[in-house]
């Protein structure tokens, strides 16, 4: 299925933010916005919900901590107990450093791997960039159009009256 998009190109983040607000208020659905850097405040105007990745990090950390404690208690206390330095078999204060490190490790990796999966980031040669300038100095707003449904002239006017410096069309072959 081919998808057609209209791309509004902006060159200023403040103009872009106002434009997003106005365009959404006009009832046009924005497919996505591509920018060379994280634009602060874009989440609110685009209606992007807060990421739930911190929750993944929390549970990852919880798992790492429980695993580390279980591992050390089982190995040192039950599987092969030995007296080391006159300490009890299960010497919890000695276990804190490893527990802490594994908490951080599992927390960080579970979050990062989830981030890669949900954002569909993976090593690949295929690149689907709407406009290559969006990784350099332009902000690209993509709006999906449906043949015969979308009024192209009106859309063009809407984008331009909201500060787009260019309006392009792009077809994506799936």
């Amino acid at each position: 299925m081919n998808k057609k998009f209209v791309l509004g190109i902006y060159d200023d983040e403040d103009v872009l933010l106002t434009a997003i607000e106005n365009i959404r208020a006009a009832g046009t659905k924005i497919y996505d916005v591509f920018s060379p850097y994280p634009v602060h405040g874009i989440d609110d105007v685009l209606g992007i919900k807060r990421s739930r990745l911190p929750i993944v990090a929390f549970f990852g950390g919880l798992f790492g901590m429980s695993f580390a404690l279980w591992m050390q208690i089982w190995m040192m206390g039950f599987d092969w107990p030995m007296i080391i330095g006159g300490k009890p078999h299960i010497a919890l204060p000695s276990f804190i450093p490893v527990t802490f490190e594994l908490t951080v490790l599992v927390s960080a990796f579970s979050m990062v791997i989830t981030f890669f999966i949900v954002s569909k980031l993976k090593p690949s040669l295929k690149v689907n960039v709407f406009d290559k300038r969006s990784t350099d100095d332009k902000f690209v707003m993509a709006i999906e159009v449906k043949d015969g449904v979308t009024n192209m002239t009106a859309l063009n006017d809407l984008l331009r009256s909201n500060g787009a410096i260019e309006v392009n069309e792009k077809e994506v072959v799936k």
Binding site: Y37, V39, I42, V98, A108, D137
Partner: protein, 476 residues
């Protein structure tokens, strides 16, 4: 919108635009290697060759190639290990702690500083692994079933804590660094002209498009990683210091070690960042991004941490006397006035006296003075570890076993070799990776650059239909 005080110095000078940032940072990556870079790499490769030869000798003939003896069983190897790990700490401090403190000046130096962290930890890891004598059995430090090795590893040992701390630190720093690199790789990919470069950077960029949702997640991930890396970096040098502090050797068995080591680590790390950045900004023409303001900010961190280190030295001495423990007192008298007095006073001069010169604004903002002092700090911090380790060991409880340590040529070779390894990695990084985080510098450009750009929306407001470009592209 944030308010930025007008008296605050700009972080990006020269009236740059977003596109200028891309050009300035990508220039180095896209251009053919220049002669200066090639010459530097040649020198670094000589260092690497020395490293390979010294490692070969160490592995083939054994640890006897080093100058260790029965009394001083730990010397240059652990000194170098602690020195390198400490240097790494500045990178994490800049990228994580300064992110949590919302210090915008971190943006143009965090990339190179984090790269430094990763390479420094690689160099550090060489020493304990080589000191194992049989590094091919290095996996025995992992908790493997006891039928595999002998029993379980000992979770009460700080050396084992180190294994977990250093490997966690390395992997988390690597991931943090790489996530920051992804958007910049995408920028290089979208500019690349050659098929090899385009494919290589496409592969490295993980298909990044810069969509709003991805950026939102990127920021969340960066913040949480910063939150995790902050206690992590503090834990790493704390645990390194426990290698000494949990033993009962006079001069090592002190509770002051963790904070004192962490401050020392940040101190030496910032010195190394300055050494590297003063050269990098010059060679790659990044003076508008790494400004005197950046240098001055780093010098302020150096005064703070240098003073903490100075207070720690004094406190240690006082407590040794105040404890009333004969052995502890002797260890410290011996440190300052014994046969290794020169090492102690080199340490005091380089670490306590020289950084105090940064109280003068002129010196703080002088590149030459900063460069020289940063080298002094690097030397001083190496001596600090040498002093702590060797002077505490060489005269133990039994005078009949007192000994001196002198390094062999192989000791020197391994140490100089890791410097070669470090610079080889750093130079390759500087050539093929963007040394400044373009995306983050662009993000602060509007609020913190010298000339404010207001691209008028008004000019494009009345454009007409005929501007509608219908250059329909087709993706494969």
């Amino acid at each position: 919108m944030q308010h930025v005080s007008p008296i605050r110095e700009p972080l990006v000078t020269g009236g740059k635009t977003y596109h200028d940032i891309t050009e300035d940072v990508c220039r180095q990556v896209e251009a053919k290697p220049n002669a200066r870079w090639a010459a530097a790499l040649a020198v670094a490769l000589v260092g690497l060759a020395i490293f390979i030869y010294s490692v070969y000798r160490t592995l083939w003939y054994g640890i006897g190639e080093w100058g260790l003896n029965k009394t001083v069983g730990w010397a240059w190897d652990i000194t170098n290990f602690v020195w390198w790990v400490g240097i790494g700490h500045a990178g994490t401090l800049i990228s994580a702690i300064l992110l949590l403190f919302r210090q915008k000046w971190r943006t143009s130096i965090n990339r190179a500083a984090e790269a430094m962290t990763i390479f420094a930890v690689i160099c550090a890891a060489m020493f304990p692994v080589l000191h194992m004598g049989r590094p091919w059995l290095a996996y025995w430090v992992l908790p493997l079933p006891n039928t595999f090795g002998s029993l379980w590893v000992n979770f009460n040992s700080p050396l084992l804590w180190d294994v977990f701390a250093i490997s966690t630190y390395f992997s988390v720093s690597l991931v943090f660094w790489y996530i920051g690199l992804i958007p910049d790789f995408a920028t290089i990919r979208d500019r690349a002209t050659g098929p090899i470069a385009r494919r290589a950077y496409a592969f490295l960029s993980f298909g990044w498009t810069g969509s709003a949702k991805a950026w939102s997640r990127y920021e969340t991930v960066s913040l949480i990683l910063a939150g995790l890396a902050t206690p992590l970096v503090l834990s790493v040098h704390t645990i390194v210091s426990m290698d000494f502090a949990t033993s009962v050797i006079p001069g090592w068995h002190t509770t002051i070690f963790p904070p004192y080591f962490v401050a020392g680590a940040i101190f030496s790390g910032f010195a190394m960042v300055l050494t590297l950045m003063i050269i990098t900004r010059k060679v790659f023409f990044l003076e508008n991004y790494i400004t005197l303001e950046h240098v001055e900010s780093m010098n302020k961190v150096i005064i703070l941490t240098g003073s903490i280190v100075g207070i720690a030295y004094t406190t240690e001495f006082f407590i040794a006397w105040y404890s009333g423990v004969e052995y502890e007192q002797y260890a410290f008298i011996n440190r300052a006035f014994g046969p290794y007095w020169w090492a102690y006073w080199s340490m005091m001069t380089c670490n306590v006296i020289t950084p105090q010169l940064f109280w003068f604004r002129k010196i703080r903002r002088s590149l030459t003075a900063t460069f020289i002092i940063s080298i002094f700090v690097n030397i001083g911090m190496w001596f600090e570890r040498f002093v702590i380790i060797v002077t505490s060991l060489h005269r133990d409880f039994l005078p009949s076993s007192w000994a001196m340590f002198s390094p062999t040529i192989i000791d020197i070779g391994v140490y100089v070799g890791t410097i070669g390894l470090f610079f080889t990695l750093f130079l390759l990084f500087a050539k093929f990776f963007p040394v400044v985080n373009m995306a983050e510098v662009k993000a602060i450009l509007k609020s913190s650059s010298e000339v404010k750009h207001h691209h008028g929306a008004a000019a494009t407001m009345h454009a007409t239909d005929k501007d509608l470009n219908s250059n329909t592209h087709r993706n494969e």
